[in-house]
Amino acid sequence: MAGSATIPHRIRRRTGADLLRIACLGVFVIFVLVPLYWMVITSIKPTSDYLAVPPVWFPAEPTIVHYTAALFSYRGLDGLLNSLIVASAATVLSTVLGTLMAYSMARFGTGGQHLAFWVLSQRFLPPVAIVLPLFLLFRSWHLYDTHVGLIIVYTFITLPLSVWMMYAYFRQLPRSLEDAALVDGLSRWQALWMVAVPLAAPGIAAAAVFVFVAVWTEFFFALVLTSRHAFTLPTVFRAFLGFQGAQYGEACALATTSLVPSIALGILVQRHLVRGLTLGALRG
């Protein structure tokens, strides 16, 4: 009898906990999705519906006029292309250099602990401390307002974190796999590219996503180091907030557009991010 009395009680309690969990998750999902929804909807709302009371949840007459204005009149498309070029190049450079440096530090102890810490300490430096010297140097080196200049800066500022992410990853990789490759007849360089790098792919993918998103959303350096040619997407948003009022539709249209590459990249590397490649390599 005692058993039959406790079982319904336990079921009731579990159901209560489930409901609470669903409620919490629901609140969280609303918290995350509503602003995104509002942004997307605002980008296709007519101007009169922006701040209407009661709020317009879906416009009666959707429009793409904000998209054409943001992309062409405000040169959002140029900013988007510049951002794509700069972010892609900086991502490739930072990931490749970061991988090489991290491998060297993890396998050969290059520079000892001091180098590892020095690399990380670069992140302690406030950007404002270096932006003015960089501005002056770039002007005299003809790197001001160029893609190359921005790519150099972004590679430099994202390298510490990509090195550290890869360093942690390579240190976890069992050394015996590379030893086996060396005995099997591979050179150290081949062992790196044929064994260590494929196994570190999840770490490399994570570092690449991090670098891309960091560069894609960076505003401060782009604002100071670019002008009419190499300006990136975040700097375009300045134009939407003026003395005359805010261009909510255009801002939301460009924000929606800027989400697309990040989401595409996320989907592309998701498989690598969750894949545990070392599974089964060593003792079971």
Binding site: P174, S176, L177, D179, A180, A181, L182, V183, D184, G185, L186, S187, Q190, M194, V195, P198, L199, L277, T278, L279, G280, A281, L282, R283, G284
Partner: protein, 366 residues
Amino acid sequence: MANVRISALHKHYGGVHAVRGIDLDIPDGEFTVLVGPSGCGKSTLLRTIAGLEDADSGTIEIGDEVVNGMRPRDRDVAMVFQDYALYPHMTVAGNIGLSLRARRRPRPEIETRVRNVAEMLGIVDLLGRYPRQLSGGQRQRVAIGRAIVRNPRVFLFDEPLSNLDAQLRDEMRGEIKRLHQDISTTMIYVTHDQIEAMTLADRIVLMRDGRIEQQGAPLDLFEQPATMFVAGFLGSPQMNFLRGRIVRSADGAAVRFGEGDTPLPFPPARALAAVPGGGEVIVGLRPEHAGRGSGAAPPPGAVRIEAEIELIQPTGSRSYATFRLAGQPMLAELRAHDVSRPGERVPIDINLGRAAVFDPQTGKAL
């Protein structure tokens, strides 16, 4: 195939002197087992032979060619690792064939050789699978396949069976022994398991603290250990070590284990001339050198005592009885179906003719 000669080899790891002046000559085709406790330097020695570690001093010759400073790929050795070290992103065929691809062999040749090795090891069905889809024993076979596919001059094994369960370990041990019989390539095998060492080796090299303690045929080390360390390391259960004093009489040497006890005589062949009368010794007796006495008199060469059994440990094929000899614990081997009980006083026959006798100060055999 090649011989391996190591001369005055030293290797430091940070502050640790891991290998201290090893001299070792391994003839072509021999199965040599490096055995010893953890940290004795056996794996370091093996990795130095493979070229994965550089020697601090001394030389390593493979096939009469000095290989110090040569890259692992140029030494033409193959190695099987303790954790198998299979490449998880490659199939079994990819794993086995990598060394041939690295040497740029033509594709048809690689396929044929991989297939031949897979047939030899009974893993043809697994060629398309990934390591994560294999059991422990299958992974071990793939690791061995990867080593034999390119006919290296020397095989190196670094504790290859230590991650397998007991049954599989016995099976794979047999396969490695058969493999050596089939291909007769020089093999150097590292283990801390004395049973593996005894069953596999043509020659055992027993290491301790970076030095070779003793080397020789397995039974020679087992029967004639040079030191107490060797005697205690080989054999399971471990050899009994009993302190005693030598007593000399007209009949020859005897040993007294406790004050006032009757001295137990050694057979005439064991004169122990180096030990003076009254000299302290440690007598090493394996459990199988002591057993339950039956009949009116002990067999030739043995002496009979009477002792109270403290503990019985049956193992199935035999049982071990613990008793005390002059207050010192000792293990004796009984037949599997012996009916002795703890607390019972029974006759025990001790075969002192097969005892090892050691100097208590140096631990060396007398």
